[in-house]
Symmetry: C2
Subunit: 339 residues, 2 copies
């Protein structure tokens, strides 16, 4: 990080400190009300979120929604935490490097060789020309054929020992503070908050409860059906790779239907690959009042700035009347460690 | 129903009325305590259930379990409602008969012919000799290729217009009153109550909330992944038959893992096919205190009496120390309509 970045961060931290003093507490009917979203800039996006929640929790009002129907789904990568790099792919690389010790042949054998040599082009070409079949091999070997207990401890080890290259913080620290507040705010208003992400069902569960206060049954991800087997006399869940379901794009509504059986009234996703257009659109089909949030990564100083090739998500946001979040303009704080 | 049956039912109703007067209210520390399980006979089973719930909710006690971990799963057919006949197979038959009007060729074509003629042997032979492939054809044609909205209204129509052959009541009325009380009792003690059954995910959701107070996201059943498609300009969930997963026997733990991601502390199943041995055994593997209930159908007067070919469930109950429920001896009331 250069000196100008440090200066800009310090200025923004100072601004936040000043703003928080005025925004944390406001009075309403002579009672003290704590601002539920202190890391959000006072503006259209924050106002729209709070108005929606007030409307649908106002018992007797025309927009009231029963708590049973208050389903909210959040994408994970790029919506709740950084997706540069994608942590689960870093986990694959971490595991392959570890497993290479007992597989000496891998140093001359693809796709392992590319990982061991840090050559990213091999998998990029595979993704473009071969539907990512080589990546699937790597995911399969690191995510199946072992007990769930063992897999969970592999993920824990990775999470506890790997650092984000830009921030030198654990991946579970590179989460977005405004979104943590939003999850809490919705939970306090009797929403059932879910993750619905391309990340692995079992992978995300290892940290979701501690990091986001999202319980395992509310984590919806890419999955393969596991099996229940007796190993050395004790019954175990064994990670499988059959009945594989990739949770991304237009398949997200199918996963939400399988897991929840109700259309969400609130969905948050982000701009990058169009991977959340499906669940955001699905929420639009709800006959009850509904709200969509699309996070735009436009802050190259505090986080990353990137866009989508065909701008499909931003175009869909106009049609669906989704609220677009500018990380630069709507968020006072991005990460908890900034505070 | 013959006169003796009617007499026996009247006697048992009288007995219940007398017992309820004494069992509904008891005093504890001078405060009035309502009996949470009035349709259960005072005895070992009821005592064991109440002791378990008291133990794990006793904050500070050695067996205390945090509410997040209080997961309970219930089989449906034969555990929460009658499985003689299996309602979902009656639904298949109901639909085939309806669809036959626009498929005149079916009257000469198997497997449709067997359904239209009420010939049960054809599907029994298919099940024994052909892995039930003909039945799967019938399930596929009645459960896929239509919108979820349409499927839900098909199921509603069936539920509202079909009667149980023995009781002349709707299938949703042939539910077990003691189990309804048990679900309520667990919910009141901050359990998250789930169905985990061989019935269809989408099929059971149509009636589970109203009938059992079990919300759609807590219904775990046999499933195929559906799809999200644009039909005549509007986005719809369409019932699929890909990525098919049969939720029965040893696959139930896998479904619980996919859906919940925690091992249940409480599981209830029933004797018939061994279909619940998997989830009951899975619960036994929990490191936290856990409880298993196995319903035995031994009441040929008030319900049905039937056993399992190899008694596998009852044998497993001895090994796993599961509490076996005798419908005859443990339940004062079987159906809500008896009250």
């Amino acid at each position: 990080m250069n000196k100008i970045s440090v200066l800009l961060i310090l200025i923004s931290l100072f601004t936040i400190a000043c703003k928080q003093t005025t925004s944390e507490i406001e009075t309403k009917n002579n009672s003290v009300v704590i601002d539920p979203l202190p890391s959000w800039v006072e503006g259209d996006t924050k106002t729209a979120i709070i108005k929606f929640v007030n409307d649908i929790t106002n018992d007797g009002g025309s927009k009231y929604i029963h708590p049973n129907e208050r389903i909210a789904t959040f994408d994970n990568d790029g919506t709740l935490w950084c997706e540069q790099p994608v942590a689960q792919l870093e986990f694959v690389s971490y595991q392959i490097n570890k497993m290479a010790n007992s597989n000496p042949g891998w140093k001359d054998q693809q796709p392992y060789k590319s990982i061991l040599e840090g050559d990213k082009n091999y998998l990029i070409n595979d993704y473009i020309n071969n539907h990512g079949k080589e990546l699937m091999k790597l995911i399969s070997i690191t995510h199946s054929g072992i007990t769930l207990e063992r897999f969970n401890s592999d993920v824990e080890e990775f999470i506890n020992s790997s650092m984000h290259p830009k921030y030198n913080k654990k991946y579970t620290e590179t989460v977005y503070q405004p979104m943590i507040e939003l999850i809490q705010y919705l939970q306090n208003n009797d929403f059932k908050t879910y993750i619905c992400s391309g990340g692995g069902n079992d992978f995300m569960r290892v940290f979701a409860e501690e990091t986001y206060d999202i319980v395992p049954e509310n984590v919806i991800g890419t999955f393969a059906m596991n099996s229940f087997e007796q190993i050395d006399g004790s019954w175990q869940i064994v990670k499988g790779n059959n009945i594989f379901f990739m949770n991304d794009g237009l398949t997200k509504p199918a996963a939400i239907e399988q897991r929840i059986g109700r259309v969400p009234i609130f969905v948050a996703g982000n701009v990058r690959s169009g991977g959340d257009i499906g669940q955001l659109t699905y929420s639009n089909t709800n006959k009850l009042p509904n709200f969509q949030l699309l996070v735009n990564h436009d802050d190259d100083i505090r986080e990353f700035a990137y866009s989508e090739k065909d701008s499909a998500s931003l175009k869909a946001a106009v049609i669906g009347k989704w609220q677009v979040v500018s990380m630069k303009d709507d968020w006072l704080t991005i990460f908890p460690f900034e505070k």
